[in-house]
């Protein structure tokens, strides 16, 4: 069972979780974007490997989208936006890096326990992939919750979405994967355009409860 194909898929999916952890401790926006590009690159490799392993050529499309759009275009555009809008370049965290990392480890353990237990019958490749994918999704959520800047929250969302693409490609023979990854790319494109149009500079509340009070419509 543990053939080379399985091992490589396992390694790539595992690397994605590791890169998610790297996203957790970045404290500069540029570095965060670079790590995100790496994240998307690892995803592209992983998807391409799944395409090869499952003999599913349409997954190469998803891999190409991940490589071109997420690993190259989006980081470059966000990079330029940070310059143009004069966004503060430090990542402001709600919780310190140390506790965040500990929380992240807890989340990965949680997803392993949950997914490995409920998928005991499933194909081992899909099973491992799914457990890693859920870890990436939860880590993405953690990034969104613990960051204040809009840009770093968006990076958290995009890494979350990478986890979903990993899960979708890991599920053998799943239809509509390409369509779904396109739909997600559209969503991300909108978010990125949104940052620019809405001129969201630093901490435009979203999930930051400290800034939320301002425009509740209740306080004026």
């Amino acid at each position: 069972m543990h053939s080379l194909i399985f091992d490589i898929a396992h390694m790539l999916a595992g690397s994605l979780v590791l890169v998610s952890f790297m996203l957790l401790y970045q404290d500069r926006l540029y570095a965060l974007l670079n790590v995100y590009a790496l994240h998307a690159f690892v995803l592209a490799l992983s998807v391409a490997w799944q395409a090869y392993a499952q003999d599913a050529p349409h997954l190469y499309v998803t891999a190409t989208i991940a490589l071109v759009f997420k690993a190259i275009i989006v980081p470059i555009v966000l990079h330029r936006m940070i310059v143009q809008l004069g966004i503060h370049r430090q990542v402001e965290t709600v919780v310190g890096i140390g506790p965040t990392m500990l929380l992240g480890i807890g989340l990965v353990a949680l997803s392993m326990v949950v997914m490995l237990r409920v998928t005991a019958e499933a194909d081992p490749l899909a099973r491992e992939d799914l457990a890693f994918a859920l870890s990436v999704v939860l880590l993405g959520l953690l990034i969104m919750v613990t960051r204040r800047n809009a840009v770093s929250q968006v990076v958290g969302f995009m890494s979350l979405e990478n986890g979903l693409v990993l899960a979708a490609t890991g599920a053998r023979g799943m239809p509509l994967v390409v369509e779904i990854s396109v739909a997600f790319s559209v969503l991300i494109a909108f978010i990125v355009i949104g940052i620019f149009l809405f001129r969201i500079r630093e901490r435009f509340d979203t999930v930051d409860s400290q800034a939320l009070d301002l425009f509740r419509g209740e306080r004026s």
Binding site: V114, M115, R117, V118, T119, A120, E121, A122, A126, L130, A133, L134, V137, L141, M144, A150, Q153, F157, L160, E161, L164, A167, A168, A171, R172, G173, M174, P175, L176, E179, I180, A183, V186, L187, F190, I191, G194, F198, I200, F204, D205, T206, V207, F215, G217, E218
Partner: protein, 480 residues
């Protein structure tokens, strides 16, 4: 694919969106918008009378979604009528530019398309894509005024909605994974009718986890507490017709997606019962929203919280399950859609008359604008669930079916309802009666859609036609 009513409810809005996007004249586009919505409604209505197409790998029309389709297209149509009379005023006051208005009409049809697609599709993957599309279009419409508050509301809705959508996708993937060993790889494992037919053989643990993700994901869009944070802002800051569509329709569509998966879980004897989860989220939403109704300062925000309250009741009823509670839930959802959109039509006109959305700056509406004022009074009486209007009947059914089966659960339910009534009447008192405050201009918006909705709600409260009752009972049985 042959041409039939299902294709029509998808093709008409899609084509209309394209046409509206290129036409410059806003009066013309407003009328075209109404015409397209009317045609879509007629096509949906024909599903009732001329039979339905057989389920295919992509489309499915059964008793359950037929109710939703007709309701969606009907409210879509009346809202377009209201919007046509309302939106010109926004142009005059300079809140919207002609370009923004063109964009608004095109987006309205895209939203109709997305909601119809989510309702008629038989494929859980397509359903997800459609709900994502509906989210994106509403995000853009919420932010259309481009004020700081509107943009912030849109952004918040966007981020929370995206996270919800992402979780729902994860749940969808898990459902596929549960189906794949039984049905086999490929498209069939995402077709809902196939899934239900084979659900008994699925791995129950996987289905359970999938449902939790789906509940969190689509529950965000339903606006269930604690995932509701986007809802009041999105309702308060967007154009009023959009608030009506959001409350009256989009919440329903997300709930419909949840119901589909609930049926799937019920078809597997070893999976856990999703009822208790929905009951507790419903009750929490009801109580929380009922308390939040007090001391609201913005009128649209007030009714947004009331939507959370009612979606809580509906989720509670469907969570209880059984023929009576499901019937009540379905009826309540229908009545709420009609009443809440009518209230938002009234609120839109009131905000134009008074020039503000602040409750403190409104007063004596029944004196300054009697028709509008009494319309609002009627709407609030309906939404509070007083007899003889339709919501009284559905709430009564929910409460009585709960008393019959779980008397203890009925207590918080009734408590929540009473708290909500108190808040609504306090607020109504200050807006509709007493010393006139605020502007006294004549309202530009048409009253016809509002009173049409309220008349339907009143009729439904007094007499429900036999075929409709039989229809709803059939759906209630389907829901299990």
């Amino acid at each position: 694919m042959t041409f039939n009513a299902v294709t029509a409810v998808l093709v008409i809005p899609a084509l209309a969106a394209l046409v509206l996007a290129v036409l410059p004249n806003y009066r013309l586009t407003a009328y075209l918008n109404v015409a397209a919505a009317l045609l879509t409604f007629l096509a949906a209505l024909s599903l009732f009378f001329y039979g339905r197409p057989l389920p295919s790998a992509y489309f499915l029309v059964d008793d359950l979604n037929n109710v939703f389709i007709v309701l969606t297209t009907f409210v879509g149509f009346t809202t377009s009528v209201f919007s046509a009379s309302y939106i010109g005023h926004e142009l005059e006051t300079g809140r919207l530019t002609p370009t923004a208005l063109r964009f608004y009409h095109a987006m309205y049809q895209v939203l109709m398309f997305a909601m119809n697609l989510a309702l008629v599709t038989n494929n859980i993957g397509v359903m997800w894509v459609a709900i994502e599309l509906a989210t994106l279009t509403t995000v853009m419409m919420v932010g259309i005024y481009r004020t700081h508050e509107a943009l912030e509301a849109a952004w918040k809705y966007f981020i929370l909605g995206s996270v919800g959508i992402a979780l729902a996708l994860f749940g969808t993937i898990l459902v596929y994974l549960a189906a794949q060993p039984v049905i086999g790889q490929g498209l069939d494992s995402m077709v809902w009718t196939e899934l239900v037919a084979h659900a008994g053989a699925f791995e129950p643990a996987l289905l359970n986890v999938a449902f939790v993700f789906l509940l969190l994901g689509y529950g965000t869009k339903v606006g269930l507490v604690p995932l509701h944070a986007w809802l009041p802002d999105a309702h308060a800051e967007g154009p009023t017709p959009i608030s009506a569509v959001l409350s009256g329709l989009l919440l329903n569509v997300a709930l419909y997606a949840l119901l589909r998966f609930k049926i799937l879980l019920a078809a597997n004897p070893n999976a856990f019962a999703p009822g208790p989860l929905m009951i507790s989220m419903g009750l929490v939403s009801l109580l929380f929203a009922a308390l939040m109704l007090y001391r609201r300062r913005d009128i649209k925000r007030l009714f947004a919280y009331s939507s959370i309250e009612h979606m809580g009741i509906v989720a509670f009823a469907f969570g209880m399950g059984g023929p009576l509670a499901n019937f009540a839930g379905l009826l309540h959802m229908t009545m709420h859609s009609l009443t809440k959109s009518a209230i938002f039509f009234a609120v839109g006109s009131i905000a134009q008359v008074k020039g503000t959305q602040k409750i403190a700056d409104m007063g004596g509406l029944t004196e300054t604008n009697p028709v509008l004022g009494w319309g609002l009074v009627l709407g609030v009486v309906a939404i509070a669930g007083l007899p003889p209007l339709g919501l009284f009947m559905s709430e009564f059914l929910v409460v009585s079916s709960t008393f019959a089966r779980e008397p203890l659960l009925a207590l918080p339910l009734v408590l929540g309802l009473l708290i909500g009534i108190g808040a609504l009447f306090l607020c109504l008192n200050s807006i509709a009666f007493g010393e006139p405050r605020g502007g006294t201009a004549k309202a530009k918006g048409s009253y016809v859609p509002m009173f049409a909705h309220l008349a339907l709600v009143l009729v439904a409260g007094i007499y429900l036609p036999g075929p409709l009752v039989a229809w709803f009972q059939n759906v209630a049985k389907l829901l299990g």
